[in-house]
């Protein structure tokens, strides 16, 4: 069950002004999901115990300070799932690709769903789906090719009890719910293991020409 609260507006009129807040009932108690968390809103937060370092797995984002830096980037989105008002139970972050990544060759057409993670203690309540769905609700995405890359060496196989093939399917089902589909590429990191996956969602206003440029770029061919 979920209920929406009002949009919050720490930076009225700017990129973060249409952030949304909703409250979910989970088996572990209420969790608040906030999209477009602005810089300056992370100071009193701390990571929940199910995020962090484990024997075979480490969170992609390990410190609260990292969220501050990400939220400061141009048109980045930080979505948080908070328990007990200041405990980070999950997060979803997205941004434009870094200049040294292949996908940056297409400028602001490309937008990376860079990381999504839910604490081991809060899994099973579809927090990942709710964070992702609410992050993707912005009209901004209709001008973008949103993409995610799943590297099997980042996956919490131990914590989930899944093997890489099963985890890959779980990721594909999650993103598939929001219109993402798998595409192929010869990008070396993605191509390194067959379990790895690249999925994209093409915005409704992305031109056929831009889609073709992206297709060629996936195979290392640059078109004008």
């Amino acid at each position: 069950m979920e209920r929406f609260l009002t949009s919050f507006s720490e930076s009225e009129g700017g990129w973060h002004s249409d952030g949304r807040t909703l409250v979910l009932a989970t088996p572990r108690g209420e969790v608040t999901v906030r999209t477009k968390c602005p810089p300056g809103s992370f100071g009193n937060l701390r990571m929940e115990d199910g995020l962090g370092h484990f024997a075979h797995y480490s969170s992609i984002i390990k410190t609260v300070g990292a969220f501050e830096e990400i939220a400061s980037r141009k048109q980045s989105i930080v979505t948080m799932a908070l328990a007990e008002s200041n405990l980070i139970a999950g997060y979803c972050v997205c941004w434009y690709p870094a200049a040294d990544e292949r996908w940056s060759a297409l400028g602001e057409l490309m937008y990376e769903m860079a990381a999504i993670e839910v604490s081991r203690n809060y899994r099973g309540a579809d927090l990942a789906g709710i964070m992702l769905g609410n992050t993707l609700q912005y009209d901004f995405f209709e001008d973008k090719i949103a993409y995610m890359v799943g590297f099997s060496w980042h996956w919490d196989l131990e914590g989930t009890g899944l093997n890489p093939a099963q985890y890959r399917q779980k990721m594909m089902r999650l993103y598939g719910r929001f219109g993402f589909r798998e595409v192929y590429t010869n990008e070396p990191n993605i191509a390194l293991r067959v379990e790895n996956v690249m999925m994209i969602r093409v915005g409704s206003r992305v031109s056929a020409e831009d889609q073709l440029r992206f297709r060629h770029l996936r195979f290392g061919i640059k078109r004008p």
């Binding site: 131990e158 890489p164 093939a165 589909r181 067959v194 061919i221």
Partner: protein
């Protein structure tokens, strides 16, 4: 599983290729495809799909539960340039295993299309819950495909010496290569 098709690849010289499951209306394009396979290679086909009538019946009886046939076609003119079939047994004891056969037109054999098709097949098999994909190659005749399989982590499991006979009556070894798909987290 199949809803993500067609999947696009681009060859190094910029040709756009689409991978997708075979449909009944592919019959004419498949006839053309098989007619371009060199005769010495047609000899080794397990199913004589070069025969028009057999191809027609094969397409009519297609059952994706036992065979998933994928074609690669040029996006610009729809020419089928490669064909891959993933076979699954109906027996419960063998449902976790699938066999693949791949065939690429000679003029497209240095564009890595076979490699992409095998990769696609491995991913599809993984998503179907298959645990092992088995590929059989004729030693000395299918070297590009053998190299592609090695690159995709297929391991040689067995050699059947003098198992296959060519049109001239000469014997060839059959290589059996296997790709395991269901690794555990402890493998990392």
């Amino acid at each position: 599983m199949l809803q993500d098709y067609p999947k696009a690849i681009v060859t190094p010289d910029g040709i756009s290729i689409l991978l997708r499951p075979v449909v009944e209306s592919d019959e004419e394009a498949l006839r053309v495809f098989f007619s371009k396979i060199p005769e010495r290679e047609q000899w080794f086909l397990r199913e004589k799909l070069t025969d028009h009538e057999l191809l027609h019946k094969w397409l009519q009886r297609l059952n994706f539960d036992s065979i998933i046939p994928i074609v690669a076609l040029r996006e610009d003119d729809g020419t089928i340039i490669a064909n891959l079939r993933l076979y699954r047994s109906a027996a419960e004891s063998m449902r976790h295993v699938a066999h693949l056969r791949v065939m690429v037109l000679p003029e497209y054999r240095h564009h890595k299309i076979g490699s992409w098709m095998i990769l696609d097949c491995v991913k599809l098999a993984m998503d179907l819950g298959i645990e092992k994909v088995i590929a059989e190659f004729i030693n000395g005749m299918e070297e590009p495909a053998i190299r592609a399989a090695h690159r995709l982590d297929f391991r040689q499991e067995a050699v059947l010496p003098n198992y296959v006979k060519d049109r001239e009556g000469k014997y060839h070894d059959l290589l059996i290569m296997v790709r395991s798909l269901q690794r555990e987290w402890s493998d990392f």
